[in-house]
Symmetry: C2
Subunit: 144 residues, 2 copies
DNA sequence: ACATAATCGTTGCATTTGCAACGAAGTCAA
DNA sequence: TTGACTTCGTTGCAAATGCAACGATTATGT
């Protein structure tokens, strides 16, 4: 018989993953939230823009795994702050062409080194577990 | 010089972790949300109760990594649904003594096998990456 | 004993979130 | 061309969230 009390949340992978994700995301967010007033959804949009250049909301939605309404609102805040530019696409006027402004580029030039340093500190902390850990995440992300 | 465009979100551990966590938590939640009307915060409270017996809100807050207001509201919903019981502690009347009702125990007897099966499917899918993966999560959770 | 501080759980409030519905724009087929 | 259908981004709305403040209770120090 299964005893209901021998289920331990601490050994349950979805829970462990959720807590670890929360911890690392918060750790990074602390680095830029106070200093730049950027939220996590805004951060994701900015990063994808820096990496990919001009993109539509739909592109961002697919690439950074966020609901389109979340992307839309993050983009509106970033536009209001002057970091990005939203213009209707010439070819298909349903689409937006979102791009970093000069101010946005300057911001990213300050932000990305912080992110890279954070990534390095995580890798260092993981040490020899890094390879297996990343391999596992890859399987979870690709799989099923 | 660092080129702003060579930062790839797909190789950034906090992001990968966040997406993987979202995927596995949603995958599990689908199994019980429709069938039992249980949310993720409620699920965590229930699991901890099943494992630990009578506990206070503060205990749950610490053990399952949720804000106390989140715990409080989840507990209120569970009490309204008849799954748990809230009574003031005799020894210290600031504390609550939260426990599963008979109905709550019955629920958990149905829920936990689902969770165990899900855990096994994750482990199977991770295959030989499982060990390194769990080791990495442990380092992130413990580590400073 | 008394005043002060700390702890517990709840609640008010502003913000964020997810989902569905919407208008605008484009596609497709007859 | 017309009409039905699809896609894109925004918005309304209800629910969820985080945080601070609160009343109630207990602990601490003098």
């Amino acid at each position: 018989m299964t005893d209901v009390s021998d289920f331990d949340l601490d050994r349950f992978t979805p829970y462990r993953l959720a807590v670890a994700a929360q911890k690392t995301s918060e750790g990074l967010a602390r680095l830029y939230r106070a200093r730049f007033g950027i939220s996590i959804p805004e951060w994701r949009v900015l990063v994808h823009l820096a990496h990919a250049g001009d993109v539509s909301v739909r592109d961002i939605e697919a690439q950074v795994m966020m609901e389109k309404s979340k992307v839309s609102r993050a983009a509106s805040r970033l536009a209001a702050a002057g970091y990005i530019n939203k213009q209707a696409s010439k070819a298909d006027r349903r689409l937006l062409r979102i791009s970093l402004t000069t101010k946005g580029n300057t911001l990213m030039a300050e932000l990305l080194p912080l992110a890279l340093a954070y990534q390095r500190s995580l890798e260092e902390h993981l040490g020899d577990a890094l390879g297996g850990f990343e391999a596992g995440i890859t399987k979870l992300l690709d799989g099923r």
